[in-house]
Symmetry: C2
Subunit: 336 residues, 2 copies
């Protein structure tokens, strides 16, 4: 890369510049074979155990938004990174960096929300740390959540294993989280129609694994949206991912909000959604199982894997195709 | 507690107010049986494994100081929290919250330091995350490090198990880290005599466990210093800890700096030090083994466990005794 001299907001967006930072600064300095796989969770082995281990920093603004808050987000982000590796989330840790002067009542609301989300996911918070910095040095509450999960024997999900002919199944509507946070942050007043989809996905993942035992991979399209996840799967598998625009589940008010805001919903963050790569003969069973769960009621087949070279395309309503490009940064900073 | 309405710096100091925050806000909202034990690492079980899991936020100022930097501190802090539970540190994760505009060169130096410290500890960084916030919203680099370690069968260290007659062995000189960081931060120019003791302790812990198989407990006196750790051991075991002031290993320039700064070295942070609680008949063997290692060359017996009621005292040079008190906050904020 042409190395920039200073950190830009886009370095934290989970898109191209973040990838370069991870590869050229972090992996180069302290990466080993596990880190360099760049999965959502690291898979590690200890005698007798197959574990997933992951971490996520949360800096969302505002701290509270329709459908969630930074506490729920911290739990769900880590639970979901474990779940899409096929791991059962067991133990969570939370590191709080607080700004001096923060209202205690706000912290209590966030902590209660952490508790509720952890119970919902069936995971236990077992470790934590708190630091306080001067009001000028931080912005309310930052939470870094880490998690340990257990990968059941025989379960081997990896985005590298997508094959020609596989279908892409999305578990629900896109762009809900990003639009809800943006509406709350900018006081856009777009309406009461928006709420983040922020939710733990581990139960739905178990349901998917049972319904489609041949499931190849799962990925949750958070920062960078569905487009970035498709590009990641394409890059890891060396195939082409083709998304059918007409098949994408998106609620009309969310689509309208994206149009008003000039956002491509394919790049907007989600926090309660996964994409599954599944052999074609198991797609129907997977879809049926997902739709039977309230969190998966809008699940749809949204595309397929073709022979290719690590690229991704969208089939448009008009029948044409456009290439999906990596974005350099997130159009919506501090979305999670 | 008399609940304050707002977060104060002291809530992040690892002393009394932090304890109240953890108990009354965090544990009340999301704590389970493991979290409420409040050990340095959580001990958790998965089929076939006995694991330690811990997390630490690092917000030290300045980012670089004699003897270390925030990257080395993040690795050592987590490695040492695992080690004092008797766990062998295996896997680390790092979450970076960066301020927009940070010089990339600075981040690279920190990342290299992470790599060097992880290699020194024999642990692998397997997961990470990066977020960037506006320059006004954070202060350079915050790092939250988490770690997973393996607890060997038969090893059961717990600060609750200190008994009357046990001796306290300290692995080295006190107050080095706090004085070095303060000197660097405030440009006190106290001299070139100061360097943080920041180091991974896992090898020295293994050495201690071999030399003293009856070892009851270890604890690393970071924020809050040796005094806070003695109070924690006393509280957990329901005994009295007595520290012999004349036996405390402290280098003369560090003692002089503390006097100039009005700091009690018993409350100053360390980052490469542990206190061991050991049955009296194994203290000599432990001391000998520690002193054979360069990191333990200043090890000393510094006190003992008596019948008591969760309190701690210092025997002064004059032969009197003074009670050790919990401090409300850290005299030196952002020391780690």
């Amino acid at each position: 890369m042409h190395k920039p001299a200073r950190i830009r907001m886009a370095h934290g967006a989970g898109a191209r510049l973040t990838g370069e930072l991870v590869a050229e600064v972090f992996a180069a300095s302290f990466g080993g074979p596990v880190l360099s796989r760049l999965e959502d969770s690291a898979e590690v082995y200890l005698p007798g155990s197959r574990l997933a281990f992951t971490t996520d920093c949360h800096v969302v603004r505002p701290l509270f938004f329709p459908g969630g808050d930074i506490g729920r987000l911290a739990v769900c982000g880590t639970v979901n990174d474990l779940a899409v590796k096929g791991a059962r989330p067991r133990f969570l840790s939370l590191g709080f960096i607080l700004a001096e002067g923060l209202e205690l009542e706000m912290l209590e609301r966030v902590a209660r929300s952490v508790g509720a989300a952890a119970r919902e996911a069936g995971a236990e918070v077992v470790a934590g740390d708190t630091k306080v910095v001067e009001a000028a040095a931080a912005d309310g509450i930052f939470i870094t959540s880490s998690g340990v999960g257990e990968i059941p024997a025989g379960r081997n999900l990896s985005i590298a294993s997508a094959r020609e002919g596989d279908l892409l199944v999305l578990s629900g509507n896109i762009a809900e989280h990003g639009v809800a946070v943006l509406d709350a942050r900018e006081s856009l007043g777009l309406g009461r129609d928006f709420a983040s989809d922020c939710a733990p996905l581990n139960a739905l993942v178990e349901c998917a694994c049972s319904a489609a035992p041949g499931l190849r991979a799962l990925r949750d399209p958070t920062r960078g949206g569905l487009a970035s996840v498709c590009l990641e799967i394409a890059a890891a598998s060396g195939r082409r991912l083709v998304v059918d625009e007409t098949a994408l589940p998106i609620r009309p008010p969310v689509r309208a909000a994206c149009e008003i805001l000039g956002l491509d919903p394919l790049y907007v963050a989600n926090e309660g959604l996964f994409v599954a790569v599944v052999p074609p003969d198991q797609a129907e069973a997977l879809l049926k199982a997902l739709r039977a769960d309230p969190r998966g009621s809008d699940a749809a087949v949204i595309g397929r894997v073709e022979r290719g070279n690590g690229d991704a395309e969208v089939e448009t309503e008009a029948g044409g195709r456009r290439r999906l490009a990596w974005v350099e940064g997130e159009p919506l900073p501090r979305i999670c």
